[in-house]
Amino acid sequence: MALPSTDRIKEILLKEAKSAAEGFLTSGENVNLSSFDFKREFEEIVGPGIEVVGSEFNYSCVLEYDAEANENILNLIFSRFPGFDESELPEIDILDALGEFLNILCGKINLCLEKDCPDLNIEVPYFVYGLEPKEDNKDKVLSFSLSSTELAFNLYFYWS
């Protein structure tokens, strides 16, 4: 089994994160995605996260967002469905909504990696307080800025 290189992971993420965001977070093809140098403390990063576990390759994704924009994010996700009943909005929490985005993103990533890593399993999303890359894998962290006219996130991806 050939494990994916850093360049391959970056290439997949740049393609699939944009596609997942355009399909789930916004209604238009107006999402910008670019990588940026990671210079922050791991402990500072908080947000919905998800782990994907396989026998040879594991990875995690964390989506950092502005907590004050909760309602705006949920409105963006649901406003394009004409049958949506706004009274249901309070029933939906931001972790579930953004966790689903991460779920969709990881599904797309796993399909790209299916030949090399066929046994990847997506775990249940949870709220992450600080990234936790393993000690010997601290260089295996990629960070992306994900934005459109309506929203902005930082996406972190690390693997072992």
Binding site: G83, I92, D96, E100, N103, I122
Partner: protein, 123 residues
Amino acid sequence: MTRILIVDDSATQRVILKAIILNYFKNGGSDCEVTECSDGAQAMKALEGSQYSLVFSDINMEPVSGIDLLIKSKEKVGEIPFVFVSSHLTSTMQEKAVELGAKHYVTKPLLQEKIEPILKEFF
């Protein structure tokens, strides 16, 4: 009245799918009752208690997966058309779904253009 069951452990996905379904029936001038369940075990009880024309089910759920739900529902209440929705459909899962008799499988994100053609096929 048409009755459709949605099974997904994500409230977000249930609300989106319900909105698409209700909008489809509203535009067609007919009524539809949608029941939501957050896991396969709850869905099995719903299927035993009422008759449904169509089931949209996620696959990866605890403690009863969408695949297990389809198998159990066949045993206990007979054939009901199933449509699987999932964020990660490997070719193995797709083969398994077809082998078990699922009518369709849809990859998330759930969008009107993916769901409405399926609804048209049944209603």
